[in-house]
């Protein structure tokens, strides 16, 4: 593409040695995009969970939870959630209530139950985002808050008809609503009898 107008006759034509790199750049750009997307997407998230040791959990220990703090949820078929607060009261007909995993379902109930701590966690988050406290400090205070006295204790009991996604969704709600004390417990015969007597189509 060099201007060759001013050349005299007989002069040797200089070969243009410039190579067009545009297609190469195109191709590399494509590959680069692929690798960039592949790396960021391939790393999955994880949820850390500590289960109670088998021999530790006894019925007495479970009952030690104060009635005012206890909150039991059952995960049923079709992503349904059944819950009751405090101690089971079989005499009262509608103590067992039904809800779901939507924002207005289980989440709002748990936020209501844990209002005090949720508010404090919010303030803590604000302070962190304003860089008033360091990340370590935030994590420390957060775990202190979550395990403070009087915070609700949620017992998650997945029924056999529930799926893995229900379990994760329930654990997720604990995270969202800043509930620090929760446990996954298998259902026992008492629970089964209670659910069978309830007005919901369980089992």
């Amino acid at each position: 593409m060099a201007d060759k107008k001013g050349k005299k006759k007989g002069e040797m034509k200089k070969a243009d040695t410039r190579v067009n790199f545009t297609p190469l750049v195109d191709m590399i750009m494509l590959l680069l995009t692929f690798f960039m997307l592949a790396t960021t997407l391939s790393k999955p998230q994880t949820m850390e969970i500590s289960m109670p040791a088998k021999d530790k959990v006894t019925v007495e220990e479970q009952n030690e939870v104060k009635a005012s703090e206890a909150f039991t949820i059952y995960l049923g078929a079709g992503h349904k959630v059944y819950y009751y607060e405090g101690l089971p009261n079989i005499e009262e007909p509608d103590y067992l209530k039904e809800t779901d995993f939507s924002a207005n379902g289980l989440r709002s109930i748990l936020i209501e139950k844990n209002r005090n701590i949720v508010q404090q966690v919010r303030e803590l988050e604000n302070r962190k985002s304003l860089l008033q406290i360091s990340k370590e400090e935030y994590n420390k205070q957060l775990s202190n808050l979550k395990n403070s006295k009087g915070s609700p204790v949620v017992i998650i009991k997945p029924l056999e008809s529930s799926t893995y996604s229900d379990m994760i969704a329930a654990l997720d709600e604990m995270l969202i609503t800043s509930i620090g004390k929760y446990a996954i417990v298998d259902i026992n015969d008492d629970d089964k009898t209670m659910l069978r007597n309830s007005s919901f189509p369980v089992n």
């Binding site: 593409m1 410039r18 067009n20 790199f21 545009t22 190469l24 750049v25 590399i28 750009m29 590959l31 680069l32 690798f35 960039m36 592949a38 790396t39 391939s42 790393k43 999955p44 998230q45 994880t46 949820m47 850390e48 969970i49 500590s50 289960m51 109670p52 040791a53 088998k54 995960l75 924002a103 207005n104 989440r107 709002s108 936020i111 209501e112 209002r115 949720v118 508010q119 919010r122 997945p158 029924l159 056999e160 008809s161 529930s162 799926t163 893995y164 996604s165 229900d166 379990m167 994760i168 969704a169 654990l171 997720d172 995270l175 969202i176 996954i184 298998d186």
Partner: protein, 208 residues
């Protein structure tokens, strides 16, 4: 009327520095990227808001299919051989060097020990084709899963992280089975693999 003649500009742009930089970036991404390992069964992990990333090293992953089959995976090839040797002594199987090598480079493993010899003698394509039909037995009579976890823990020591990856639609009974086996082994801390879900501030707050 004579128009002023604009000198013709050369529109050629030198792309060489650009391609230099790009090749550099490309090399970086190629070297740092870790590829997804092919898994015997496709698993759609449920969504969660948890933002903790899974560590890269010494992860013992347990894959649970929607039908409840269990497949295992361990990252380090040398450790895999040690674990396999432990299991082989427990189940009185003698291993050849070829079997050990094949096992160390295989993707996931999930064949009952009684089928192990027969399975490893098959060609690789056949193995990959048949693997989804197997799964490690987790029932209480023949719980080889416990054996594998125990062997892996013995080989890898305390830093080994157990990660459970299950499909959204896996019934809870299968999960309970696996978690119960882990509980028997006093493995009470583990990770559940999920994919990220965004929750808006409004949703998070509810009616606060």
């Amino acid at each position: 009327m004579a128009r002023p003649t604009l000198p013709k500009r050369d529109t050629w742009i030198d792309m060489t520095p650009m391609s230099d930089v790009m090749v550099l970036l490309l090399t970086f991404f190629m070297l740092t990227s870790t590829f997804l390992k092919p898994e015997p069964v496709t698993v759609n992990t449920p969504m969660s808001v948890s933002e903790i990333k899974i560590p890269e090293k010494s992860v013992f992953s347990i894959l649970i299919s929607p039908q409840g089959q269990v497949f295992l995976d361990l990252d380090n090839p040398d450790d895999r051989i040690s674990v396999l040797e432990k299991m082989a002594t427990d189940y009185n199987i003698s291993l050849t060097e070829k079997e050990k090598h094949d096992f160390s480079i295989a993707t996931s493993f999930g064949v009952p020990m009684q089928n192990f010899k027969e399975f490893m003698s098959l060609p690789l394509e056949k193995q990959n084709e048949l693997l989804p039909n197997y799964g490690i037995p987790t029932d209480s009579l023949n719980n080889q899963f416990k054996g594998w976890v125990q062997a892996a823990r013995d080989v890898k020591g305390r830093d080994m992280i157990i990660a459970i990856k299950a499909d959204q639609s896996t019934p809870y009974t299968h999960i309970k089975n696996v978690m119960g086996s882990l509980q028997d082994l006093r493995e009470n801390r583990y990770n559940l693999i999920t994919s990220l879900r965004e929750v808006s501030e409004e949703e998070r707050l509810g009616n606060l």
